[in-house]
């Protein structure tokens, strides 16, 4: 029993990590970033290149790729998203426009990766060492993902709810039209939020590449999983993403252990449907 709880939390930690960046981009910058998963994959490949060609440990790669992810997303926002935000008459229009644009961006990133790395499977071994957690042996790299996701989640929550800067971000998330009345630079807040999301995607890419096999075209898998977690947790809610991610991990593990591994997917979507029926805006979503 305890082993399943631990395995479930370990799996869910990865889901939470994947979803947090997307929920911030969606919740604050109002951009439904469909290329999120491909940004993750790009970071996976970058980590792989740094590790296999330059012998740079993936943990050190975090120090390089997280700022790189931040910078990349900042540039994307300034060049591609800003004109959309400027011309969108309302939030709905921005959401639709951003979905279309990031859908295109998805293929651009994918195409570039295909040219450089081809369509083959990539994987390597790092920190694949057994760690004993309360009697259950888990992989070191997966444990790292959980620890990182809890730390980052905690840090984001503290920043969002305990700092002035976080309050500005929340104000923009809550009411982008009224925030400027209080002297808030909404454009800057949205830009920062989008870039933080990019940095999160890079973090996920580095960590996930340690234990998961990836291909240049696998980004959509991450985007789908992240979307489920984000919608389940309530859009824009970091706490929601963490809770929903862990919940899905636990559901998958328990179903695999006690019912049938073949039903994990069905169970995930079952929970998804049920929760949306009860709480249409997600666990921590606001109406």
């Amino acid at each position: 029993m305890l082993e399943h709880v631990i395995n479930g939390l370990v799996l869910g930690g990865t889901y939470a990590l994947v979803a947090m960046g997307l929920t911030i981009q969606y919740g604050i910058a109002r951009i439904m970033n469909l290329s999120f998963g491909d940004t993750i994959i790009a970071a996976c490949f970058a980590t792989y290149v740094l590790f296999s060609s330059f012998a740079i440990s993936p943990v050190l790669a975090l120090l390089i790729l997280v700022p790189a992810g931040y910078a990349f997303s900042l540039v994307i926002y300034r060049v591609i998203m800003r004109p959309l935000v400027a011309r969108a008459p309302d939030e709905g229009a921005l959401e639709v426009d951003s979905i279309l644009v990031t859908f295109g961006l998805l293929f651009v990133i994918q195409g570039v990766l295909l040219i450089f790395f081809g369509g083959g499977y990539t994987s390597y071994s790092f920190l694949n060492t057994p760690v004993n957690v309360l009697g259950t042996v888990v992989a070191g790299n997966r444990l790292l993902a959980v620890v990182l996701s809890l730390l980052i989640g905690l840090a984001l929550i503290v920043i969002l709810y305990r700092t002035r800067w976080g309050m500005i971000l929340r104000a923009v998330a809550l009411s982008p039209q009224n925030a400027p009345l209080f002297g808030i630079d909404t454009d800057r807040a949205a830009r920062t939020a989008f870039a933080i999301g990019g940095a999160m995607a890079a973090t996920v890419g580095v960590v996930v590449s340690m234990f998961q096999t990836f291909t240049a075209t696998a980004g959509v898998v991450f985007t789908m999983k992240a979307l489920i977690v984000v919608i389940l947790g309530g859009k824009g809610s970091v706490l929601g993403a963490v809770v929903a991610g862990l919940l899905l991990g636990l559901v998958e593990t328990f179903v695999a252990a006690y019912i049938d591994p073949g039903l994990t997917l069905a169970a995930v979507y079952g929970v998804f449907l049920l929760l949306l029926l009860v709480r249409p805006n997600g666990i921590f979503g606001k109406a």
């Binding site: 082993e3 399943h4 395995n7 370990v10 799996l11 994918q110 295909l114 081809g118 369509g119 083959g120 499977y121 994987s123 390597y124 071994s125 790092f126 694949n128 060492t129 057994p130 042996v137 888990v138 992989a139 070191g140 997966r142 234990f211 998961q212 096999t213 291909t215 240049a216 075209t217 696998a218 898998v221 998958e252 593990t253 695999a256 252990a257 049938d260 591994p261 073949g262 994990t264 997917l265």
Partner: protein, 413 residues
């Protein structure tokens, strides 16, 4: 066209210097002109360059197409019965891992591009999807990366289809034989833990495996399928371990194969028989696993003492930049060699090439006398095992180009 007419005119002018030769030229004129009109052979294919199938296609199929075309063109082109040679021109499409797209692309290759030959896509399902079209347009269909037990039925339905990778029952029965021998030697118990991916390959193999294992008196004590998107195998391996089975069998795709290996190492799960699906025969497998994979079993395998195969592997590494896998690659390459030799013997007529493939004997990387039985290649290595850094073909006792299987599998480190 213009070019070839000018060429013909020039050739004719040269011939007029001799009156008799001129008469001769007129006599053979019609057929001669036809041959001269053609300055290349076009070969088309649609494979998955993007989408979920890209990984498999990029490992087993596309590199061999490229290698073969490059080799043939470097040697002056495809040889024809009259001794002349024509370079190959390739028309390649990306089917984006979509069955509709692959059908559309093959139709386009046949009707618009009017290529001379069409090479098959990657995957059992995709090969079945294009098989009726290939037959309709009369193209020989050299189904390479397709595992099916129904090949004999398909040959009846489409007599220009050829199947190069055997069927699920072949692979499973070869494994069962090894397991029976191990059980008799007292090295394993009669329990098997088996998992399979709920997708084409896994479904086919597990369907063949259940009756095969049970017929041999094994008790499949853990038998579960998992969705293709599964990336975490901690719970599954835990349960497999708890089932008390000495043999672990997984019919998995590469991402699962790699994930299972990593998780087995972390959990120190080391059953005497550890058999995995696609991916365990990739040359990068030991590196991905991060260390020793000694004793891990899977489909395929090579004879390390076979010089033809060694030469092929060296060439593949040289031209493509990486080694071929230890299962399907060599079969695909052999099918292309057979196509080339069939053209050399009977020319570019599609029906004649299909007939020659059916009945001829070819010298390929698999051996000097490769031939098909009922349009199917049977000289396939069914079970392989990692032994001393090589993925070698094995059988219970060894012999006949195969090594003896070494069980129980040693520890992970």
């Amino acid at each position: 066209m213009k070019h070839s007419i000018a060429e013909a005119a020039r050739a004719a002018r040269r011939l007029t210097t001799c009156a008799t030769a001129a008469v001769l030229a007129v006599m053979v004129g019609t057929s001669g002109l036809e041959a001269q009109e053609r300055d290349k052979v076009t070969i088309g294919y649609a494979v998955s360059k993007s989408g979920p199938n890209a990984g498999g296609a990029d490992m087993t199929v596309t590199p061999n197409y490229e290698l073969w075309v490059e080799e043939v063109n470097a040697a002056g082109g495809l040889k024809l019965p009259d001794g002349s040679q024509l370079p190959i021109e390739v028309i390649a499409y990306d089917d984006r891992s979509s069955a509709e797209e692959v059908v559309r692309a093959v139709e386009r290759l046949a009707t618009q591009d009017e290529v001379d030959f069409i090479l098959p896509p990657w995957g059992t399902g995709f090969n079945l999807a294009v098989a009726p079209l290939m037959a309709k347009f009369g193209y020989p269909h050299l189904a390479g990366a397709a595992v099916t037990d129904k090949a004999s039925d398909f040959v009846k339905r489409w007599d220009s289809s050829f199947w190069f990778m055997g069927g699920s029952a072949d692979y499973v029965n070869a494994l069962t034989e090894i397991l029976i021998a191990e059980r008799e030697a007292g090295r394993i118990n009669d329990k098997i833990a088996m998992i399979s991916v709920a997708d084409g390959f896994g479904i086919d193999l597990v369907k063949a495996a259940r009756p095969s294992f049970e017929g041999a008196g094994f008790d499949v004590s853990y038998d579960k399928t998992f969705p293709p998107g599964t990336s975490d195998f901690a719970t599954i391996l835990n349960e497999a371990d708890n089932s008390g089975a000495d043999s672990f069998v997984a019919f998995s795709y590469p991402p699962h194969t790699f994930g299972l290996t990593k998780q087995a190492k972390v959990a120190s799960y080391n059953p005497p028989v550890f058999y995995l699906g696609v991916g365990a025969g990739f040359p990068v497998y030991p590196k991905i696993a991060g260390g020793s994979v000694e004793g891990v079993m899977s489909l395929g395998g090579i004879d390390p003492d076979n010089e033809l195969n060694a030469a092929y592997r060296a060439k593949h590494e040289d031209v493509v930049g990486r080694a071929p896998d230890y299962w399907g690659s060599v079969l695909i390459y052999a099918s292309l060699q057979m196509l080339g030799q069939a053209v050399e013997r009977v020319g570019l007529d599609k029906a004649a090439v299909a007939g020659e493939l059916s009945t001829g004997t070819f010298s390929t990387v698999l051996g000097a006398e490769t031939r098909l039985e009922n349009n199917q290649l049977r000289a396939i290595n069914w079970v392989g095992q990692w032994q001393d850094g090589q993925f070698v073909a094995v059988s219970a006792q060894g012999g006949d180009g195969m090594a003896a299987v070494k069980l129980p599998k040693p520890g992970w480190e």
